[in-house]
Amino acid sequence: MSAALKVALIGNPNTGKSSIFNALTGLRQKVGNYPGITVEKKTGYCKLSDELEAKIIDLPGAYSLNTTSLDESVAVELLLNKRNEDFPDVVVVIAEVENLKRNLLLFTQIKDLGIKTVLAINMADRMGRLGIALDIQTLEQELDTKIALISTRKNEGIDALKKLLSEHSQLSESEVLDVNRIDAIYFEGLKKTFPKISLYKLWLAITQDVNFMPIERQSIADQSSFSTKSKDELKKMQHRETVLRYQFINSALKKAYQKDFTKAEGVQGFLDRLFTHKIWGYLIFFVILFSIFQVIFDFSSYPMDAIDGFFGWLSEWFKDNLPTGILTDLIAEGIIAGIGGVVIFIPQIAFLFLFIALLEESGYMSRVVFLMDRLMRPFGLSGKSVVPLISGMACAIPAVMATRNIENWKERLITILVVPFTTCSARLPVYLIIIALVIPEGRIFGLGYQALVLTGLYFLGFLSAFLAAAILSANLKLDRKNFFMVEMPTFKTPQLKNVGFTVFEKTKSFVFGAGQVILALSIVIWFLGSNGYSDDFKNAEEIVIAQIESTSELVSDLEIEHKISSYKLEHSYIGQLGKFIEPAVQPLGYDWKIGIALITSFAAREVFVGTLATIYSVADSEESTIVGRMALERDAVGRPIFNLATGVSILIFYAFAMQCMSTLAIVRKETNSWKWPLIQLGFMTVLAYVASLITYQLLV
C-alpha cells in the first residue's frame, strides 16, 4: 500500500466531511484503538482507477489553520510536517454551498502551503432551495483549483471527485495570497534568513502554538529580529492577513456566485426559537434526555438478557462436549466468561451512540450547547461539556475524546477530570448484581426499591461530577485564552448511513479497545485462581477429606467436591493475594473474595462481576446463577457475606472509584502528562475508600 496516493480530507465542521469520507472509503476504513494508540485520525482506502489506489486521511474539523482547538492543531501538525508518513500528496478541502465564503478561508490557507488542492463543494442538492447559483468554471479559474460538486445525500459527485484525484498530476501547487502584502519589510527579512522555506509555513510556525517544526521554531527564536515583534503586532498582522484573504475570496465569488435572498427558510427560524426558548428549550431537552434513558434501560435489557443467557449456555456446552481438562476449563471458565463480559455492553453503548449521533447530525446538539453554556459555567465547565458528560454514561473513553472541541483549556481539563464520575455502562453490571443481592424487591409509591436505588446511583454520578468540577474550578489556577464559539448549523434530517457508521465505529472501538483488557484479565484471573504453590493447595483433596472424616459427619460426594474446590481457591495464588489485602478492605465490609475482585477490577470495573463469576464458578455448586451462588456465601459465623451494609458499601465504592485503566491511558494522552491522570486516580480512590468506609460503618 506504500505506493497509494495519499489524500487528506479537511474542512469546516458541519460541511459533511465524514459523509464524503464514508462515501469514498465505504467500510474500508479504520480508527485507531484506544489504549495508548493514536486516535486522532481516521484512515481508509479508495480505488480511484484500475491502477490507482488512494489512502484517505480524514482530518478533524477545522475552521482555519489559526488554531484555537486541539482538533485544529492535529490538522495543522500533519499539514506542516513533511516527514509525517501521512503527509498528503493532495488535500481535498470540503466546503458546503450555504457557507461557501467562510469555508473558502481555510481553502486559501491550504493553497498557500503549496500543496495540491481540490475543492469539494458539498450539499449541492440544497442550491435550488437556497436560491444559489454557481459558475464552476469561473470559480475554478479564480481559485486556481479543480472543483467537484457533491451531494452525499443524493450520492452524486463522488465519482467526479475520484476522477479529479486520479488526475492529480494536473493540479496546481501555486499559492493564492502573496504574504508579502501582509507586511512587506517583515516578510522580506524572513525570506533572507530562511530562503528555502515557504513564507506562509514560517508565518504559521511563528504564530501558532503547536508542536510542529520544532527545529524551525528554534531557529526562528534564535533570530531575535523576528521574535521581537510583540504579540499585539503579530495579531495586527493576522488581522490584516484575514482581511486580505476575504478580499481575495469576495472578488472570486463576485464573479461566480449568486444568491437570491428572497428565498428565506421560515421553518428553520421557528425551530431555532423553539429549541432555544427559555422554557420550551429546556423542557424539550429534558424530555429527550429522559426518553434516551428510558430506551437504553428498557430496550437494551432484552438483548442483554439474551446475551447473558447465550454465554452461560455456551460455557456449559463446552464443558459437556469437550474432554475434561485444563484447556476446556480455560475456554469455558476463562475465555467465554471474559468475552461475554464485553459483549453484554454492546446494546447499551450502541443505543447511546445512536442517539448522540442523531442529535449531532440533525444540528440539535448545538442548540443544547447554547442553552446549557451559562448553566455550566459556574462549575468551570462549558456548554460543550454537555456532550462528553452524556457520552460518559456509555463509556468515559469516547467522552474524554469528545472534549477536544472545547477551546478553553481549563474548561476542557475539568471536563476530562470529572467525566469518569458519570455512571458509565461498565458500572452497571456491578450495580445490577449487588442491587439484586441486597436491595429487597418491594415497592414504594408504585416504584420498585431496586429501580429507585439504580436511579439514585445515576444521580449520584452526575452530582459528584458537578461537585468535583466546582471544587476543581475554584482551585485550579490556569490562565489560558478564553474563547467559546459554537456554530449553529441549519437543521437537517440525519443521514442514516452516517449515523450507522458512527455507531458501528464507536462500538467497535469499545469492543476491541476495552475488550482486549477485559479478556486478558479474565484469563489471568482464571489461571491465578486455579493454580497455587503452597502444600495446602497441592494436597487440597487429602486435607479436606481428612477434615471431613475427623468430624465423622455424613457428607454427600457433591458437597465434598465443593469443599475441595473452595479450599483450593482459598490457597491459590489469587486467594493468597486476597487474604493479603483483607485487612485493608475489612473496614469497608469486604472479605478476601471481594478484595480479589477489587484488585482485578482496578483495570476495568466490569471485571468485578467477571471475577466473582470466575471465583464462584471455580467453587462450583448446584446453584447455577452467579447471584444465586453469591447469596449463599457465608462468613465464619454463618451470616451472609452480601448483606445490606456490605452491598451498599460496594455500590458507593464503585460510584466514586476510578477503576479503569483505559480511561487513565486516554487522559494521559489527551492532557499530555501523567500529572492529571494520577491526580484523578488518587482523588477518586481516596474518595471511594472514605465514602464506602463511612457507609459501611453507619449501616452495619
Binding site: N66, N99, K235, Q238, H239, Y282, G383, M485, V486, E487
Partner: protein
C-alpha cells in the same frame, strides 16, 4: 457605534472600519470583518451566550467576546 453584545434580538448593524485590536482572529475568520452585517438572532435563557447571524454564518459566542465587535446600527 455600539458593541454587538448590546443589540436587541432582531437588530442589525454593519461592522465598523476600525477593528478593536483585541478582537480574536477566529471571530474575523468566521466573518466579523469591516463592512459585514451582524444580526442578533437569539439570546440564551440566562442572558448569555448570544446567537448571531454574521455575514451568512450562524454562530453563538459569549457576551464577553461579543464586546470586541463594534457596529454601526442599521435603522
Amino acid at each position: 457605534m455600539i458593541s454587538i453584545d448590546r443589540l436587541r434580538v432582531g437588530q442589525k448593524g454593519v461592522i465598523v472600519e476600525e477593528l478593536d485590536a483585541h478582537i480574536p482572529v477566529k471571530l474575523m475568520e468566521i466573518g466579523c470583518l469591516p463592512g459585514n452585517e451582524v444580526e442578533l438572532i437569539q439570546i440564551a435563557p440566562l442572558n448569555d451566550p448570544l446567537y448571531f447571524l454574521v455575514d451568512g454564518s450562524r454562530i453563538a459566542i459569549r457576551r464577553e467576546m461579543a464586546q470586541y465587535v463594534k457596529i454601526d446600527l442599521k435603522s
